[in-house]
């Protein structure tokens, strides 16, 4: 049974390792995309504009209240159509098809972004008010203030929350397997189907996911310790 997991033409070892790389790639790009969306919508939520606040509130409520699978189906079946519609406005005719990787990144990124929004919003609110005031007193412009004073502190404060979002995002990428992207879930399903050894391959898939989650847990723990150097935890 173990020869099925060897590398090369006869075993599935190399395919499974490649699929693990794909899972890590798609999770990382989804998290990055989600953090970008999260930063934008967090600033919407904290802005004074009623319209921006409502838009951000609508986005986080819908995405967090609707099954991930439904969001993925929306983009899987509707993503290309939406892109073609926009392209038409700019005068581009013809068929555009988005790759499963792109669809997956946008879908999981949009889901992850809703959770990131809350994490980043919380982190911004946790930056002491005096920091804003002090920077303004020094005559800093809004732009300089955001990037040199607020952003580094937000990054540190948001880290534990982002660690949680990462774990959720990583697990959500398993759902992209329905679009045909060959990540761990899809690869183990293919292998299970062609060898009639589902138990073996799903067990391997479980181990691969546990490997990634454990490693990234360690990583976030270390990063947290590193970035909190010189800070006393208030709850300790």
């Amino acid at each position: 049974m173990m020869e099925l997991l060897t590398f090369g033409d006869t075993g599935w070892g190399d395919e499974l390792l490649l699929s693990m790389v794909m899972t890590i790639l798609v999770s990382t790009s989804s998290l990055a995309f989600g953090l970008l969306i999260g930063t934008i919508f967090a600033s919407f939520k904290l802005s004074n504009s009623y319209i921006l606040k409502t838009i951000a509130e609508f986005y986080t409520t819908v995405v967090r209240g609707v099954p991930e699978l439904l969001v993925i189906y929306l983009l899987f079946f509707g993503g290309s159509g939406a892109v073609m519609y926009v392209a038409k406005i700019f005068g581009h005719m013809g068929y555009i098809e988005l790759s499963p990787f792109t669809i997956g990144t946008i879908a999981v990124g949009a889901i992850s972004g809703a959770y990131s929004t809350e994490v980043i919003r919380g982190a911004i609110l946790a930056v002491p008010k005096g920091q804003f005031e002090a920077a303004r007193t020094l005559g800093m412009k809004k732009y300089a203030l955001s990037f040199t004073i607020i952003f580094p502190q937000v990054a540190r404060l948001a880290l534990p929350g982002i660690g949680n979002v990462w774990q959720v995002t990583l697990k959500d990428t398993a759902l992209i397997s329905v679009t045909g992207l060959v990540e761990i879930m899809r690869q183990s399903k293919i292998a299970a189907g062609s060898t009639h050894e589902p138990f073996l391959f799903y067990t391997v898939a479980i181990i691969l996911y546990l490997f990634i989650t454990s490693i990234s847990y360690q990583f976030f723990n270390r990063a947290e310790t590193k970035f909190s150097k010189g800070f006393v935890r208030e709850d300790a």
Binding site: V62, G65, P67, L70, L175, E197, P198, L210
Partner: protein, 227 residues
């Protein structure tokens, strides 16, 4: 926007609501039962009890739900001795496998929530109870659990919403609940946006009602306590 299609598909999709609610209800009830046991094992000082609970939670929380479902539904079916045993009567049924997977999943997540709630019980309360001569069981029933429930309720409300969302996965093993029906209509009509709005609104409504219910019980349980 094709409103006629939305109107038509609404009546098809609502037929999936009973199945979604049935799966949520059954897995939540069974899951909560196991969660309490697992949480008690996890806080136990006996390593033979706390280690299995720790590893169970570790595996469930570290792997995607879809993989767990496939492992139970397809993975276990591989063995002849399972297919010949009485277990097969249950494991060949996708509905049973779906409920089993969701039960195990919510049991692991809720166990952590309950553990957090238990640890928030002030040690002085437990000491006071034992100095009054309460037995271990009495302390658990009369002091620890009531406080735990109150502490854990907000987090458990989130878990319930995650459960409602998680039921959509059983559509992948052929069950026709809300997402399953929505998917079928999308692939026939190619109107993803319209169907998403209809199905999504139903989920949002269910989750809204759950949030209200949790809020209501929170207010009830917090009656007479100072926040």
């Amino acid at each position: 926007m094709r409103f006629d299609l939305m109107y038509e598909s609404f009546f098809k999709i609502i037929q999936g609501i009973p199945l979604t609610l049935e799966v949520v209800f059954l897995s939540t009830i069974f899951g909560l039962f196991f969660a309490i046991i697992i949480a008690l094992m996890r806080v136990s000082e006996n390593k033979l009890l706390s280690n299995p609970a720790y590893y169970f939670i570790y595996v469930i929380r570290g792997t995607p739900l879809l993989l767990q479902l496939f492992f139970i539904y397809y993975g276990l079916a591989q063995f002849t001795f399972i297919r010949e045993s009485f277990l097969w009567f249950f494991l060949e049924d996708p509905l049973f496998c779906g409920i089993l997977t969701l039960t195990l999943s919510t049991a692991a997540y809720s166990a952590e929530i309950i553990r957090g709630g238990m640890q928030s019980v002030a040690p002085g309360l437990i000491e006071a109870a034992s100095s009054m001569g309460m037995s271990k069981m009495q302390r658990l029933r009369k002091i620890i659990l009531p406080i735990t429930i109150r502490q854990a309720l907000p987090a458990y409300g989130n878990e319930l919403i995650l459960m409602v969302k998680a039921t959509s996965l059983i559509s992948i093993v052929t069950l026709m609940e809300i997402t399953g029906i929505a998917r079928t209509i999308i692939s026939k009509t190619y109107a993803p946006v319209e169907i998403f709005i209809v199905a999504g609104s139903i989920y949002l409504l269910i989750n809204f009602l759950i949030t209200r219910m949790i809020k209501f019980s929170e207010n009830k349980l917090n009656h007479g306590t100072i926040q």
